[in-house]
């Protein structure tokens, strides 16, 4: 029987294994050295969900970002490092094990301050080694949002997890869970219903069996929000969660909303709660002095009642039960037990969490929509942490400047543009503000130095003239006979690739302007479903009205003009319509019905009109606001008449898609931006591979490709702008390439960039600095297998086969990228007492072709690359040739001097030998030694040190400086350099003659002495041997 099964197994797997010969590399196996770089910005940082301080070590704290992962500080909050980059980036809670706080950390994913734009989580994670490795705790895969992880300090195997749960759908995963075996098994100990989740779970610090839990009934849709209901309640358990009782004594009757709760650490009888109720006068802060038995209403100031779904964290001073801080628009602090409050000091608005320093209540940390802030004076003055690049982009775009700029708008942080590279790295100061409020789409005019930006709901659309520093507000406005305009919170804008002044916007209509927004024409009917049931935003919010405009629905969300035909326009709406016009808007075709497999009314998040065909487009659909997290992406080549699904099973089942970017060259190469990171296909969507090289699984809201550089630029919602430089090698990947042992990818000629500005690095100790694009030549090759045994080298040669330099070979399986900075070797400097920095300047190669020789064991692989001078050079070819020639002359002179000093040293050694051991020859030897020493002292520095005790420069130093100045310059040789060269060349000649004379006189005598006495002569190597000696 067993044999039969094995046989069947073999037969059954045969066809599989045949097709498996197709090489399918995934992720790190394929992408090798292609690595993402992060350019921030961090100056406005991004939303923080939760802060956690170490219980005993004042240096250590953690920040859980709403969309940007977990960050650890080991310096008291001065700087932070990401420690959760391989896991979902939306964080609900970070909790340290009270007994093992250095090693054991729990992270509940899924942010819990449930605004419209929140990301989603994917379960519960734990590290037992301080964050190096994380393991997912089974049982919470569908939790979506975890608000609390509470650990019994006396028995840390006992853990409570509060699951707030799904925001846009029912979920039976909500509730409070308990483990008593450190997470191996879980029991749900409090569950209300599929729409009511756990807001807060709090443990009495003095009695771990006493727990408080707030349950919250809530729901969001694409067009509304509801907070509150009969099932929201505050519960208490005194038996470790076995039984729970509502503790509402004193609360008003009727429905409740979100409840925040806190126990005073210094007095367990004092409990604070913030309530959202039906009675406005009873909202805000409540206090119990008897551990929840009775409640008294204390305060309903704005700061205590504002937007409970967004702010309901209360923190009590660990040492003083009367000092309470509450999150809010500005954050509030009370020093009289909650009777009165004042605002916290200025910082970014929207404060979600506040923690006190463990030893000093003057020191506080706040987590806001704009990062982490620190206060040193009890909350009056706050300063921002400057190295948390958590910016949350809704959209990005790029221009064609060099280096190109990235434009984009941020959640609650306005609109910005900044360079993709900048001297010294992309700093906070490199970013320019181009809009207030929440920022969304930011587009550069194709030819003029004009930027379009907007704020929420197109309340303002700005046309900013950068050169003149003038702003004009140009949003389309309602006119007579036209319905009220419905703009999305994130209203679509587009500029035309065909008519530079043309500018599109979308409400429920498509608006077109041919004069940069001065005047608008509506060129479409209402393209949405115009479903009135989804237009009741005035009623949104539930117990607390919340009509910010964020829920506006039945609107156009994406507009795409075909790059091949200005009359072809695609429109996607938030309520599921895809519409296309082929005549510039005269007639529109609704192709929604052709989208087989896409559930009705699924948000059309992005349409990408292809460069590969007029009728070709990609559309991605996002159903998460109705609880459908599945990835959807479709391709059409016939103007939407038929569509092909291009999602494969390689993509995580919950990675809903917001964006797609096609390659401009290879139609089969596509980049997919999902809620959980970036996926790449090289076969038109048959299979996808997640890109994870320095690329966290962060929500990607928009992707653009910069045409000149082939860079993929991503606007992430939590980790700022992330760039993958030059993806062109991916265009070449196919089965034939993947089957080769070694494959060199084609390169365009590399330009030797001549820019040479300055970069002050002040502040970089604590500020985020984004990594620049490398300006080196890139030698890119594929290895079928990681090289581990035997020698492997990479050498650069001129076309005649002379070695230029050796480079550190990349040895990864997959794609390797080796940088070459266009230089050959540095000159060998004469030996001296201090370092001569001329010896650190290598020669640059001239324009031309070069051979790359990869040697792997006995096999040799060859590839030719080309380098060229910078088109923007300020130097003529003749000047450059003069510079190259003088560089070579000086290089040789530096080495001539090195050889002369070597000869001197060697002769001196022999002389010294004789002086010490041979009294007969001592006199002659001494004479030789002394004259050589006098010469040597004029050639190289022989005293002092490398800093302020430095000696005057000698010939080596002066020659080295001139060499270095000429060799590293991009312009012609200056008149002064030429005169300086004459002087130094003359001096070298003089010294060489002086050396010849010494050799002829003292040297000769000494040599004949050695000969007569049959003593060994100085073992002087030839110049060639000396130079090649390492």
């Amino acid at each position: 029987m067993k044999k039969l099964i094995i046989l069947l197994l073999a037969v059954a797997t045969l066809p599989l294994s045949l097709s498996a010969q197709e090489i399918s590399l995934k992720g790190k196996e394929l992408f090798g050295d292609l690595s993402a770089r992060h350019i921030g910005p961090a100056l406005m940082s991004g939303r923080i969900n939760d802060l956690e301080v170490h219980p005993t070590n004042t240096r250590i704290m953690y920040a859980g970002a709403a969309g940007g992962g977990v960050w650890k500080s080991v310096d008291g909050g001065a700087t932070f490092t990401a420690i959760f980059d391989e896991h979902p980036q939306s964080i609900g809670v970070v909790t340290l094990d009270p007994k093992d706080p250095d090693q054991t950390i729990w992270v509940g994913t899924g942010e819990t301050w449930t605004r419209n734009s929140v990301s989603v989580g994917k379960g519960l994670f734990r590290t037992t080694d301080g964050g190096s490795t994380w393991k997912e705790i089974p049982g919470f895969e569908n939790s979506e949002r975890i608000a609390s992880v509470v650990i019994n300090p006396n028995n840390t195997k006992e853990v409570y997890v509060g699951v707030l749960g799904a925001l846009w759908s029912d979920s039976e995963d909500r509730g409070i869970y308990k483990t008593t075996d450190g997470g191996a098994t879980w029991k749900k100990i409090l569950y209300v219903n599929p729409s009511t989740g756990a807001g807060d779970v709090i443990m009495d610090p003095k009695n771990p069996n006493t727990l408080y839990a707030s349950m919250w009934e809530f729901r969001r849709s694409g067009w509304g929000f509801n907070s509150g209901g009969p099932n929201s309640a505050l519960y208490k358990s005194t038996n470790g969660g076995e039984t729970w009782n509502k503790i509402h004594n004193g609360f008003p009757s009727g429905d409740l909303g979100r409840i925040g709760v806190a126990v005073a650490p210094s007095d367990s009888n004092i409990i604070y709660a913030v309530l959202e109720t039906e009675d406005k006068t009873k909202n805000g802060l409540w206090k119990s002095a008897d551990a929840g038995q009775n409640w008294e209403h204390l305060n309903n100031d704005f700061g205590l009642t504002v937007r409970p779904f967004y702010f309901s964290r209360i923190t009590v001073d660990p040492r003083n039960p009367d000092i309470i801080v509450k999150g809010g628009l500005s954050g509030s602090i009370s020093r009289d037990g909650g009777k009165t409050f004042k605002d916290l000091g200025n910082m970014h608005s929207d404060i979600h969490d506040i923690v006190f320093h463990i030893n000093d209540s003057d020191i506080m940390y706040a987590g806001t929509d704009g990062g982490v802030y620190r206060s040193w004076n009890g909350g009056t003055v706050f300063e921002i942490v400057e190295n948390l690049p958590l910016s949350q982009f809704y959209h990005i775009s790029v221009d064609d400047a060099e280096p190109y700029n990235v434009y984009g708008g941020l959640q609650d942080n306005g609109s910005w543009y900044g360079p993709s590279s900048s001297p010294g790295g992309v700093n906070a100061r490199d970013w320019n503000s181009v809009g207030y409020g929440d920022g969304f789409r930011v587009l550069k005019h194709p030819t003029k130095n004009i930027i379009y930006s907007e704020m929420q709901g197109a309340q303002n659309v700005w046309r900013y003239d950068v050169d003149r520093n003038r702003t004009k507000t140009v949003q389309p406005l309602q006119e007579k006979g036209v319905a009220k305009l419905r703009f999305n919170w994130n209203a679509p804008m587009a500029v035309s690739a065909h008519v530079p002044d043309r500018f599109y916007m979308g409400s429920q209509f498509v608006h077109k302007s041919d004069d940069m927004g001065e005047s608008w024409t509506i060129i479409s009917p209402d393209l949405t479903t115009n479903d009135p049931a989804k237009q009741n935003q005035l009623e949104s919010g539930g117990l607390s009205m919340d009509n910010s405009g964020a829920e506006n629905h039945t609107t156009i969300f994406t507009i795409a003009e075909s790059p091949l035909d200005q009359n072809v326009l695609w429109v996607g709406t938030d309520d599921g319509n895809v519409q296309v016009t082929k005549d510039g808007g005269k007639s529109w075709t609704n192709v929604t019905a052709n989208l087989t497999g896409i559930p009705a009314n699924t948000w059309v998040y992005h349409i990408e009109a292809s460069v590969h065909g007029k009728g070709t487009a990609y559309a991605v659909f996002d159903g998460h606001t109705s609880g459908d997290m599945k990835p959807y992406a479709m391709k059409t080549t016939d103007y939407g008449a038929t569509w092909k699904n291009i999602i494969s099973e390689d993509i995580s089942a919950k990675a809903f898609v917001r964006n797609i970017q096609e390659d401009y060259v290879n139609e089969d190469l596509l980049f997919l931006g999902t809620e959980f990171g970036l996926y790449v296909t090289i076969d038109g969507g048959k299979s996808w591979s997640q890109f994870t090289n320095n690329m966290p699984p962060v929500a990607i809201h928009f992707i653009d490709m910069q045409k000149q550089t082939n860079d993929v630029v991503m606007g992430t919602h939590g980790r700022g702008v992330i760039i993958i430089d030059d993806i062109s090698p991916l265009r070449e990947l196919n089965q034939e390439v993947l089957a080769k042992n070694v494959h060199f990818f084609k390169n365009d000629a590399f330009t030797m960039k001549e820019e040479s500005g300055f970069a002050g690095s002040f502040g970089s100790e604590t500020q985020f600095v984004g990594r620049n694009k490398s300006t080196s030549a890139k030698i890119i090759y594929y290895l079928k297998k990681r090289h581990t045994f035997g020698k492997m080298t990479l050498e650069l040669q001129d076309m005649e086969g002379n070695k230029i330099t050796s480079l550190p070979a990349g040895k990864s399986k997959g794609i390797n990228v080796v940088d070459w900075s266009f230089t050959s070797s540095s000159p060998k400097m004469a030996e001296g007492k201090t370092l001569a920095f001329g010896g650190f300047t290598p020669k640059r190669v001239p324009e031309g072709k070069y051979k790359v020789i990869l040697t792997k064991g006995k096999d040799t692989y060859e590839h030719v690359i080309e380098v060229k001078y910078d088109d923007t050079s300020l130097t003529s070819l003749a000047e450059r040739k003069e510079q190259e020639e003088l560089t070579s002359t000086l290089f040789d002179m530096v080495e001539d001097l090195a050889y002369m000093v070597y000869e001197i040293n060697t002769m001196q050694e022999t002389a010294k030998e004789v002086i010490e051991n041979n009294s007969k020859g001592k006199k002659n030897a001494q004479k030789l030694y002394d004259s050589l020493e006098a010469l040597r002292k004029d050639l190289v520095i022989t005293t002092g040190d490398g800093y302020v005790a430095s000696a005057d420069p000698e010939l080596r130093e002066r020659m080295g400086d001139l060499y270095s100045g000429v060799a590293s310059a991009y312009d012609g040789v200056s008149a002064d350099q030429k005169r300086n060269f004459e002087l130094i060349a003359g001096q070298l000649k003089t010294e060489q003659e002086r050396f010849a004379k010494i050799k002829a006189k003292e040297g000769k005598k000494f040599m004949s002495f050695l000969e007569k006495n049959e003593l060994p002569k100085p073992a002087v190597l030839s110049r060639e041997d000396f130079l090649s000696k390492k």
Partner: protein, 258 residues
């Protein structure tokens, strides 16, 4: 349906093999594949000659490590000798590049270094006797290759006055059981909090033992890194112990040859 069943059977058939590896088995394979445990135990000292490519210059370097914990690294450049991380059993010292004089490392760095002296020639050798723990974390793809990720915990070290665990992760190639990447959190200085990454390749045999002849040090997630190319390795060389000694003040002038 039948296909599903077969896939399930296949998974069942394969998984016991895949999980059979323990950290100790992997380490045993590693020592076996690189020359044998007994041969490793016989090593008394190792001398490395190599070079570092720095801006087009091949900087020659020499390293010596001894079983008694003494160690030394030096580089000769423009007639001067730079010493780095020299340890004589008591004092850890390096050359100050401004004055070219030897300077002692701070007490904490010296104490932490002293803890590493029992790691010769390999921290995994007799790790249990040393009180270390190892743990197989799982499989991970690094450098495109499938590896076993092994966590090594050594004696706690001190970081700016506070005790911390000393954790290193080794990635052993599943095909040949040699480590190809080592990762360790950077504990102090400007890179604190980042993960230092050492990549190893070009393993070659030296008197029956295998060593990586290419070692690249960098930071995880960052491009580049500094490659050290080993040119030759001498096992059990004759080394004059005076090279490890902290030079007396007068001898600091010996930086130049003349």
């Amino acid at each position: 349906m039948i296909k599903t069943l077969f896939v399930a059977l296949l998974v069942l058939a394969i998984s016991p093999v895949a999980t059979a590896q323990t950290a100790d088995e992997i380490l045993a394979n590693y020592f076996e594949n690189t020359g044998g445990l007994d041969n490793w135990k016989k090593v008394e000292a190792i001398q490395f000659q190599g070079s570092v490519n720095f801006q087009g210059m091949e900087l020659p370097i020499e390293m010596v490590q001894k079983k008694d914990g003494k160690s030394m690294m030096k580089a000769d450049f423009q007639g001067m000798t730079f010493y780095q991380g020299v340890y004589d059993g008591e004092t850890l010292w390096s050359t100050n590049q401004m004055t070219m004089a030897a300077e002692k490392s701070d007490a904490e760095a010296t104490a932490n270094h002293k803890l590493e002296t029992n790691d010769f020639p390999d921290p995994f050798l007799g790790y249990k006797e040393k009180g270390y723990t190892v743990e197989l974390i799982g499989k991970e793809t690094v450098d495109g290759a499938e590896t076993f990720k092994i966590k090594l915990v050594k004696e706690p070290i001190m970081v700016d006055g506070k005790e911390e665990q000393d954790v290193t992760f080794y990635y052993f190639d599943t095909e040949n059981f040699v480590p190809i990447v080592v990762e360790k959190e950077i504990k102090g200085g400007p890179g604190a909090g980042m993960v230092g990454q050492t990549k190893m390749s070009d393993y070659q045999e030296v008197d029956g033992l295998y060593f990586p002849f290419s070692i690249t040090e960098g930071a995880k997630g960052q491009p580049g890194g500094q490659e050290i190319t080993i040119k030759s390795i001498t096992l059990n060389p004759t080394v004059d112990d005076t090279v490890f000694a902290f030079p007396a003040p007068a001898a600091t002038e010996a930086g130049t040859k003349n």
